[in-house]
Symmetry: C2
Subunit: 139 residues, 2 copies
DNA sequence: CCATTTAGTTGACGATGTCAACCTTTTTTC
DNA sequence: GAAAAAAGGTTGACATCGTCAACTAAATGG
């Protein structure tokens, strides 16, 4: 037992919900990083290309590429900022909003399916724990 | 708010602890899938190449490749099975055991650092929730 | 004993992200 | 206010990584 139970579980959960876990695709033709990027675009006002890259830990070059991919798929649009001519504001399209809603439903269904296999006592704790972890990561 | 708080958090946590989150490397020269593969090898007796692939959701081709990478780095060895000449038993080396222990320490430290930023009430729930989630995924 | 199945490997390929060099626009500095 | 520095973004070359399909070798079953 070289790896503690907690770490083994954490890795499994991260892998399951991560890039390769859900058949390499979150939903439809959206990969995991594309989903995170799209969510960022949907929730940030006047979202620059680099802001997208930052939330993924990508270089600005990688940021350009993932935004371009989302644009080609019709989920976002790039608009030159009126305040700063260097900046591209990335904006979500209606098609992008639709697929985000769809992913949300699918994820929640996934979680519900898992909950039915878990001891009932821990089920109400899932939300608070995950949200607190995410808060700590961001903070 | 197209994506629920829970899903947003879940994606962030998966990304943070996943392939790209920790600088693309779990620890040293070990990528996330390599870590999972090595952990599998360390805990399974007479672990075949395909067993490694299965725990990652890889094809047998991908399994060969990740085992070869681990072998080149000196973390595992391949031995022809004495029972079945087709099968390669993948065995962890002392060097592989050492890095696993090191990753375990680093992960636990990471978690501790996060815990200090979380509301104290949820901290004791982290372990049970993560382990229960992992159990539900496996089951 | 030959046909089928199974474990594993390999070449070609596509997807994805980095690095470095570059252009453009803004900000700083003197 | 003009030159220099900095910042946002793009692009070509490249490395990594996993899949697909074709292959070899070993086991299994009529």
């Amino acid at each position: 037992m070289l790896i503690s139970e907690l770490n083994r579980s954490l890795a499994l959960v991260a892998w399951h919900f991560g890039p390769k876990g859900l058949n390499g695709q979150c939903c439809g033709d959206l990969s995991m990083p594309e989903f995170i990027a799209l969510e960022k675009v949907s929730s940030a006002r006047d979202c620059s290309v680099q802001a997208v890259g930052d939330c993924l830990g990508f270089t600005k070059s990688g940021a350009t590429r993932i935004v371009n991919r989302l644009e080609k798929k019709g989920y976002v649009e790039k608009r030159k900022s009126s305040q700063d001519g260097r900046v591209c504001c990335v904006v979500i399209t209606p098609k992008g909003e639709a697929i985000l809603k769809q992913v949300d439903r699918q994820y929640l269904q996934q979680l519900e399916a898992l909950q039915s296999k878990m001891p009932p006592a821990v089920v109400p704790e899932i939300g608070p724990v995950i949200i607190a972890l995410a808060g700590a990561i961001k903070g």
